[in-house]
């Protein structure tokens, strides 16, 4: 496939507006400014574009939820929090082609009737925030961000809002709280952000990759976009591939490309020519799949049918040497650290699950531990919590146990007897590195 989102990768000075213009940049914006907003939304609906931030919700449909007649400002938020372990594609887009993202944001704002957009970027992405600041300054100079964009009468500006180290701020309502100057704690839905979002106003939150796809859809048409990929998962998709492959990195493929092709052809196969043991197809919150599922397609439907989720396309590859008890412990440490603490099942459940898996790994597992883990996974997911972070740590528990239960049981069976009369020493969780604490 010809590169689309990554077409500027390898071009010298790809970030500059001059280079972007040479590649036809900002022509889509010019085209859009002469159209009705509804026409733009229709074109995006026709493309079949589905959100690239994790949930895969149809973008055009989401835009359609914004109540246009409400006499309140509307806002667009670009979600550049990119914190799902295994995901690093949005960073690539920003580093390679920031103007493509800005053009997408301006067009999308036009479509939903917003005049201000915020880019919420994770605090660690400092140099990426600087890249965006520079690009925004260039766009202002050229009149793309202006009280009267290219003399069309449309007013538009974009501001960068830096996060400060909290995974949960990637969740759209936590992100909104964070922009408002609060702790990043998710809100109960409904109301949905499309109606009551940031500053109490209708708000659309879209992922970087989603927004960056929009100029291409406008340039070449929704039908062209829909002709790429599968029938229900349209378009090209960036996969962030990490772990035990020879050539990790960000790759663009049509949705539906098999994981075998991504891992063995595009990424050159498994490091040291070892055997593939398992892979997580869409970022750490998605269920792990065993090696024999490597021939499935990477479209939303095939991955769901195989029992996992496409998520954000963060493909984590593990070879035969990986100890699954250790891997689950690592993931649970992440979620225990990142729970925002509002809901008891999530806050306590993630900590308990981590403690249980940690004691199994350290050789103090108990026969009932597998059941305990499954019980925790039941009580912290599926509607028991305010946001889906509950599910995000329960899915790994369930799927690791479904696929690799024998490894957990073997570790428990060979557990060391506890020293007489001593209760098991539950590991004291280290300070989590929260230097602020």
């Amino acid at each position: 496939m010809e590169p689309i989102l990554l077409r500027a990768r390898g071009t010298p000075n790809s970030r500059s507006i001059v280079t972007y213009h040479e590649a036809g940049g900002y022509e889509s914006l010019r085209k859009v400014l002469g159209l009705q907003a509804e026409t733009v939304i229709e074109e995006v609906k026709k493309s079949g574009l589905r959100g690239r931030g994790g949930a895969g919700f149809p973008t055009g449909v989401k835009w359609g939820f914004v109540p246009r007649d409400l006499p309140k400002p509307k806002y667009l938020i670009c979600n550049a929090d990119e914190s799902e372990p295994g995901t690093f594609k949005d960073r690539e887009i920003i580093r390679v082609d920031p103007h493509m993202l800005l053009e997408g944001i301006i067009i999308s704002s036009y479509a939903i009737g917003a005049h201000v957009a915020y880019i919420y970027i994770r605090g660690e992405f400092y140099s990426e925030a600087v890249i965006l600041e520079t690009a925004i300054a260039e766009a202002r100079e050229h009149g793309y961000l202006d009280p009267n964009v290219l003399n069309s009468g449309f007013a538009m500006d974009i501001h960068i809002h830096r996060g400060a180290g909290a995974y949960i701020c990637g969740e759209e309502t936590a992100l909104i709280e964070s922009i408002e100057g609060k702790r990043g704690q998710p809100r109960l839905k409904p109301p949905f952000p499309a109606v009551v979002g940031v500053f109490g106003c209708p708000t659309v939150v879209n992922n970087v990759e989603t927004l960056a796809s929009v100029p291409h859809i406008i340039e070449r048409g929704g039908e062209w976009y829909a002709s790429i990929g599968t029938e229900r998962s349209t378009g090209p998709k960036l996969f962030s591939v990490s772990g035990h492959v020879k050539k990790p990195g960000v790759y663009e493929v049509p949705l539906g490309t098999t994981f075998r092709e991504i891992i063995y052809e595009i990424c050159g196969g498994i490091r040291g020519d070892k055997q593939l043991k398992a892979f997580i197809p869409g970022g750490s919150s998605c269920p792990i799949l065993p090696a024999d599922k490597v021939d499935i397609g990477s479209d939303f439907e095939s991955v769901a049918e195989a029992g996992s989720m496409l998520g954000s396309g963060g493909l984590i590859v593990m070879d035969e040497t990986v100890d699954m008890v250790w891997a689950l412990e690592n993931l649970l440490a992440f979620y225990a650290h990142e729970s925002c603490g509002q809901c008891t099942p999530c806050r306590e459940g993630a900590d308990w699950a981590l403690d249980v898996v940690r004691r199994i790994r350290r050789g103090y597992g108990r026969p009932e531990d597998v059941d305990t883990l499954l019980r925790i996974a039941r009580f912290a997911s599926q509607g028991m919590t305010i946001c889906p972070l509950g599910d995000a740590f329960c899915e790994p528990i369930r799927s690791f146990l479904a696929q690799f239960r024998h490894e957990f049981e073997a570790a428990i069976e060979s557990a060391r007897p506890l020293p007489p009369k001593k209760q098991p020493v539950l590991p004291v969780r280290p300070g989590h590195g929260d230097f602020g604490l």
């Binding site: 295994g86 690093f88 100057g181 590195g433």
Partner: protein, 174 residues
């Protein structure tokens, strides 16, 4: 990678941060921030960043000044500051080393880097070396897993590290 060496943080000692005032330069920046949002409260995170860039960390005195400037209570500002791990509420070393310990980095040898860092610097996670040079922190996925393992030093990412490159890098930071 031929990357420029990271500049040290200017860490203002606690006794100079008991009470702070914003000078004219900062006031200009604050006003630039305020116009981006319909509420003053929304300027909180950007203003905390501004303060941390200037003084190196967020002392109780800084919290109080920020609160007053935005019309918030110091307790509220403290609540927000403590939620976000990147806001430092104790004075750090001149170089804050944040090593990613999440899965993809661990699959690519981050564990070895961590052991090496701890042994070399003689500190644990959350501690600062006696000479005030380094603070060591373990962090969750830095969003660059394809270049694992990764160390963030102040604002910069250092990727594809091994022990040798790490040594070279740290020795260059004064």
């Amino acid at each position: 990678m031929g990357q420029q060496l990271t500049a040290p943080i200017t860490v203002t000692p606690p006794e100079q941060l008991r009470e702070v005032r914003f000078d004219d330069v900062m006031e200009t920046s604050i006003n630039e921030i305020l116009v981006r949002y319909p509420t003053a409260q929304a300027a909180l995170l950007p203003l905390l960043w501004l303060c941390q860039e200037k003084w190196g960390w967020i002392s109780p005195g800084v919290t109080a000044a920020v609160a007053e400037r935005l019309g918030l209570s110091p307790a509220f500002v403290e609540g927000v500051t403590s939620f976000y791990t990147m806001f430092l509420r104790r004075p750090p070393g001149r170089y804050v080393l944040q090593v990613c310990t999440t899965l993809s980095c661990q699959l690519c040898g981050a564990g070895g880097l961590v052991d090496h860092l701890k042994a070399k610097l003689g500190i644990e996670f959350g501690e600062t070396s006696a000479d005030g040079r380094f603070t060591l922190i373990d962090v969750q996925c830095l969003g660059a897993c394809g270049e694992a393992p990764i160390l963030q030093i102040n604002n910069d990412y250092y990727t594809d590290l091994d022990v040798e490159r790490l040594d070279e890098l740290l020795d260059g930071l004064k």
